[in-house]
């Protein structure tokens, strides 16, 4: 369309093609133009979507570290290649960040000139009528008896009533409506920028930590006390609000089919300033301390175990959390490490030089792997759990002696027992299988030691998440939606009118219209508008119904 060089959009016009200057400044400027063009933005957007695909298909460190480990075992040749391209951590990969950053810059480079153009359009009169209105996508032409000046005035009145912005001169009229479309569009794009900033700031200054709490225990918010703690790049330990949470009781109920019905963690919260309150912490109902939230994210069982020597002296006693192996029926695994027993044993060591083995005295240490089964049933696959609630709780104990390696300096997980270098301790089958409780049978070990499982309790795992910018992200999201609605629902259109006197003393009225998109239904609106204009541009009605001439 050559009639209207001014489009209804503030999308900057493509730069004129210039001969390729070799000067670096020109090259830079061209590069900037290319980067901030709509086409590049489209390309970058598509790239961003494409880049997110491997992140959903390949296991990710941030979501499922164990799945990554499994994948690495299964594909020993492919995995290193994937790792090289950060495919196990796509959303934190430099190349993902590069696309994101380019899009960000492109968006800024595109939005700023558009804002300038839009503000200019808002301050200016609607653009003057093109010379030939009949060549516009919408046009109309008719004759009337009214003189030119009255035609223009009547049309201006009609259009103003319909909330057009109108500019007139003696014979022509220009009107425009729907500026909010562009305002909304710019609001949308600016809100998108703010959202990206808020996401970035939140992850840089926030933190996330998780903590497993046994019934009856207390947690104080400190980076040193978490089971896992992930600070942002710029988070300092002093940013942690030192509140306390005490778990009184975790309670779960289930449907008859074993699926979860309710989870409740009854907790007491104490703020840094000492205010105490009680809460029923549930899924979907976190506990808030300012912008830090505490969530209930998991639960499980814990066993109370006691290790005694032959004389009945207690050498080790603890409540150990068991990790569910099966998230449906909660068959769980617990690890107990007893490095101190006061007793000695011998251990085989081989001399690396002579290759001979010798028996040397060593402290007696025990390691236990205990399987906790909340509702035990015997199947031909062995003992299984049939239900997640503790309806028929049993524990099955496997014991090891040898070097636990707790003082070896190599960090260990409390939830893992490294049994290499340990010897399994034979326990008669009928003694391995016990019902936890105060009067539970004592399991015989070596040298007269016994292990007793005196009961079970539950734990809840809490996740603490601090995102100082999440309020801003929400504001940005609301603005984004508002801008989007304005941008997609407001219709922007221009109408022009030209009145020309004829030799016969009448007036020819020409009207033309232009809309932003063909989907705006302007092709239907325009004839209606023309009908309206034709109806209003008439000699004043003879009788005025509001002032009856009596």
């Amino acid at each position: 369309m050559s009639i209207d060089t001014e489009q209804l959009s503030t999308q900057p016009a493509p730069p004129p093609q210039r001969p390729a200057h070799q000067r670096p400044l020109a090259t830079l400027r061209r590069g900037w133009r290319v980067l901030t063009s709509m086409r590049t933005a489209l390309l970058l957007l598509t790239l961003l979507a494409a880049a997110a695909i491997p992140g959903s298909l390949i296991p990710q460190h941030s979501l499922a570290p164990s799945a990554v480990a499994r994948f690495q075992q299964k594909h020993p040749t492919l995995a290193p290649i994937y790792a090289k391209f950060d495919l196990f951590d796509v959303f934190h990969a430099p190349w993902f960040a590069a696309i994101y950053a380019l899009l960000f810059i492109s968006l800024i480079g595109c939005v700023i000139p558009r804002i300038r153009l839009h503000v200019r359009a808002l301050l200016r009169r609607p653009p003057a009528a093109p010379r030939n209105l009949a060549r516009l996508p919408q046009s109309a032409r008719w004759e009337t008896d009214l003189p030119v000046d009255q035609v223009v005035a009547a049309a201006a009145r009609t259009l103003r009533r319909r909330r057009f912005r109108v500019a007139t001169d003696t014979t022509t009229l220009a009107a425009e409506k729907g500026y909010l479309r562009e305002s909304g569009n710019l609001l949308f794009h600016v809100a998108l920028l703010f959202l990206l900033v808020a996401i970035g700031v939140g992850s840089m200054f926030g933190y996330q930590g998780s903590k497993l709490l046994l019934d009856g225990s207390t947690f104080t918010n400190s980076n040193l006390l978490y089971d896992t703690y992930k600070p942002g790049a710029l988070t300092s330990p002093s940013d942690l609000d030192p509140f306390q949470v005490t778990l009184h009781q975790f309670k779960a109920t289930y449907q008859p089919d074993g699926s979860a019905a309710t989870f409740n963690a009854y907790v007491t919260a104490k703020t840094a300033s000492g205010q105490v309150s009680t809460h029923d912490l549930r899924v979907n109902h976190p506990l808030s301390f300012g912008h830090t939230n505490v969530y209930l994210i998991g639960h499980g069982y814990a066993l109370h175990v006691v290790l005694r020597d032959a004389k009945g002296n207690i050498w080790h006693e603890e409540t150990v959390p068991c990790i569910p192996q099966d998230l449906v029926n909660y068959l769980s695994q617990c690890v107990v490490k007893a490095p101190d027993t006061g007793a000695m044993t011998t251990r085989k060591v081989s001399d690396p030089q002579t290759g001979q083995t010798a028996e040397v005295p060593a402290p007696l240490q025990y390691g236990f792997l205990i399987t906790f089964v909340p509702t035990a049933v015997i199947t031909n696959l062995g003992v299984q759990s049939a239900f997640p609630a503790p309806d028929n709780p049993r524990a099955i104990v496997t014991a090891y002696t040898g070097n636990l390696g707790v003082n070896s300096g190599v960090p260990q997980s409390v939830y893992d027992l490294n049994t290499t270098g340990m010897t399994p301790l034979p326990i008669p089958l009928d003694k391995q299988f016990v019902t936890p409780g105060p009067s539970s049978a004592k399991i015989p070990l070596s040298q007269g030691f016994t292990l007793q499982i005196t009961g079970y309790t539950q734990w809840a795992s809490l996740q603490v998440k601090d995102d100082p910018a999440k309020g801003w992200a929400l504001v940005a999201a609301i603005l984004l939606i508002s801008g989007l609605l304005l941008s997609l629902r407001v219709r922007r259109r221009r109408v022009w009118l030209r009145a020309t006197p004829t030799a016969a003393g009448r007036t020819i009225v020409e009207a033309g219209g232009l809309a932003r998109t063909d989907a705006d239904d302007f092709a239907r609106e325009f004839p209606t508008l023309v009908g309206r204009l034709a109806a209003e541009i008439r000699p004043a009605a003879r009788e005025d119904p509001e002032c009856p001439s009596t």
Partner: protein
């Protein structure tokens, strides 16, 4: 509260009846094509008919003088351009705006009068089948609403808590959108093409994805489920409709290019003569996507707010979130492509179909193949 088994059973039966009614409706729409001989009008004359009478949507305000268009220049009507100067304004395409007339009649039970809108210039028994099909669609819709409602009442919760229920709701949204569109535009030609995927969708939902009525797992038990899921389902139903329109657009534009070459259209392209002009289909696709996009955006944001309260972070690139984002980006690319020149027609249509493929994967692929937080389990460790 326990599940009301009688109501749950009634819901399942109504679901089945709805499928039967929709299937019959689909056959009715197909019969309209078969007996209406739509190809009589749809070939060479098409270009001339493009310029036929456009009914203007006129405000109903009785105090206002209403404008309507008369005096078309067309081969199918006998009224020609008046010899004397016209009484009203003449539009650029030669039509005359007259400053008096009544409101245009509603178009739903009647065969479309505008060949550009509807399925050609057939009539007679074809139109009767079409009308019966619309009545069957409405009956099926009412029964479908009954099925969804009784399920909610049976389980004492909102009836969109598992994939069977989501699928049923998406189908319901698509049918509702079609019926609403029918109130405003003569789009009965769409009937067969909307009912076919709806029936397939519901058949899959009722067999493969079927889940007995039951309570929600704790993670889903939030008022955000009402907001987030309603938005996502509504947008999905609309995107499904846009994909049908896009498909028809591609068929029609292929038909147009074959006919323009003077060749005989193949079996698929021949479907093109059953539907309105490519430009109209294209515009309607854009309209539906423009309407659905903010709803989808809102749904994704509501999901993030829900995730923030359930899992402690508003965005975590879980596969469901990732694919929602991908879907969002593709439809944003579609809107951008349409907003700038040079990316109309088939290339834009392809983007729209890719968007719908991503959406489908988001709904089904992710639920069936991945086990993210969105696989609707209780909290894990």
């Amino acid at each position: 509260m326990p599940v009301d088994l009688n109501l749950a059973h009634a819901s399942d039966q109504l679901f089945f009846v709805a499928i039967v009614l929709y299937t019959l409706a689909m056959l009715g729409y197909a019969a309209e094509f078969a007996f209406g001989r739509p190809w009589a009008a749809a070939t060479r004359e098409d270009a001339e008919i493009e310029a036929v009478v456009a009914r203007t949507a006129v405000p109903a305000d009785a105090s206002e003088l209403e404008a309507a268009l008369v005096g078309p220049r067309t081969a199918t009507e006998t009224v020609s351009r008046p010899a004397t100067a016209p009484a009203g304004p003449v539009l650029g395409d030669g039509r005359v705006v007259e400053v008096a007339a009544s409101r245009p009649a509603r178009s739903w039970l009647r065969r479309p009068v505008d060949p550009d809108d509807g399925a050609g210039a057939g009539g007679g028994s074809g139109a009767l089948f079409g009308r019966i099909a619309v009545a069957l669609t409405m009956a099926g819709w009412a029964v479908h609403v009954g099925s969804v409602t009784t399920r909610g009442l049976a389980a004492h919760r909102v009836p969109w808590g598992n994939m069977y229920e989501f699928s049923s709701m998406i189908a319901l949204v698509a049918v509702t959108a079609f019926l609403l569109l029918l109130l405003r535009q003569p789009v009965r030609y769409l009937g067969a093409f909307v009912m076919l995927p709806v029936v397939c969708y519901m058949a899959i939902a009722g067999t493969v994805l079927y889940t007995p009525a039951g309570p929600l797992v704790p993670a889903l038990n939030s008022y955000w489920i009402k907001i987030h899921v309603v938005a996502v389902i509504t947008a999905s139903g609309l995107f499904a409709l846009s994909a049908v329109l896009t498909g028809l657009y591609l068929v029609r534009s292929r038909y147009d290019s074959v006919v323009a070459r003077g060749a005989e259209p193949g079996p698929v392209a021949r479907l093109g003569r059953l539907v309105p002009s490519a430009a109209k289909l294209d515009t309607n696709t854009l309209r539906v996507i423009t309407f659905a996009f903010p709803i989808w955006t809102f749904g994704v944001i509501a999901g993030a707010i829900w995730a923030e309260s359930a899992w402690g972070r508003y965005w975590g690139w879980d596969p469901k979130e990732t694919w929602s984002f991908i879907t969002w980006v593709i439809y944003a690319v579609y809107l951008h492509a349409r907003a700038t020149a040079g990316f109309k027609g088939r290339r834009a249509a392809v983007i729209s179909l890719i968007g719908f493929a991503a959406l489908t994967f988001d709904f089904y692929g992710v639920n069936l193949w991945f086990s993210g937080l969105h696989s609707y389990q209780g909290p894990g460790v």
